[in-house]
Assembly symmetry: C2
Homo-oligomer: 159 residues x 2
């Protein structure tokens, strides 16, 4: 993407963050998705507004872009975020097939503002035993059955 265009879209993401967090309700994060250099979706943090812990700016924008384009694969799209994406949003970008993510502020900047982005990045890469969240495996004979059924179906869609 040309420098001028990428600058335009990253500023748009920052503007969305500023505009929609003025009241101190929505978190100060904004995102924009482009398709072939054109704006296709915007998003901003709506966690409190929607009572939805997954409603980060990037997730909201990815969902909007998918709805707008009528497909879950966004491999011809770029994501612009006012801040380095948290692990949830970064992984969502991977699942969407997005190849390029532009960002402005860093995860440490977010931490300075009272968010836990850098802490969460660190947490994700610890061993499960060292993680703050308890991850408990419950093994049952049925564990692999969903996959077994999936693999046996020649009509299964591609993910």
């Amino acid at each position: 993407m040309k420098d001028q265009l990428s600058e335009k879209y990253i500023k748009m993401a920052i503007e969305l963050a500023i505009e929609h967090s003025k009241e101190g309700i929505n978190g100060p994060f904004g995102a924009v998705i482009t398709h072939k250099d054109r704006l296709v979706a915007q998003g901003w943090n709506r966690v409190h507004e929607w009572k939805d812990p997954t409603a980060h700016a990037e997730i909201v924008a990815i969902r909007a872009a998918s709805q707008s384009l009528g497909r879950f694969n966004l491999d011809d799209c770029c994501l612009f975020s006012s801040c380095y994406p948290c692990p949830m949003c970064l992984a969502a970008a991977y699942w969407a097939g997005i190849k390029t993510v532009y960002y402005a502020a860093t995860a440490r900047d977010a931490d300075k503002a009272g968010f836990l982005d850098q802490k969460l990045i660190d947490e994700m890469c610890k061993s499960d035993k060292a993680k703050e969240i308890d991850l408990i495996r419950l093994e049952t004979v049925e564990s692999f059955k969903p996959f077994e059924q999936w693999l046996a179906n020649p009509n299964r869609l591609k993910y």
Copy 2:
């Protein structure tokens, strides 16, 4: 949580995975959320059905539980997933404040069925330069402005 109950809920998550992926459309993943040992939400993969790359079983269940309880904080809830949560879903559990996640199949099991869970876990912990996705920082003077405005607002909500 008592063993019998956790067994009941993990089986429910597996059953959801089996039931809703029969047609080969929804991916073979199911999730259940409990609040004080009672079922509060169910979810299954709806990526193709909803054309939404973020509609993994756990995300769908977390959003449903938040709607049901009327709050984004689920720190008194447990998540049961038919499979080890991908980084998107695991990070979502952190943001929701969930403290315990039970799972049945492993990320490597998912990979055997053609998904990329283990690969994505590995990818998340590489340096940005080594990641398959391009993460490009665009520094502008406005980068920290959303956070600056946020910190200056004494009425800002807590995240």
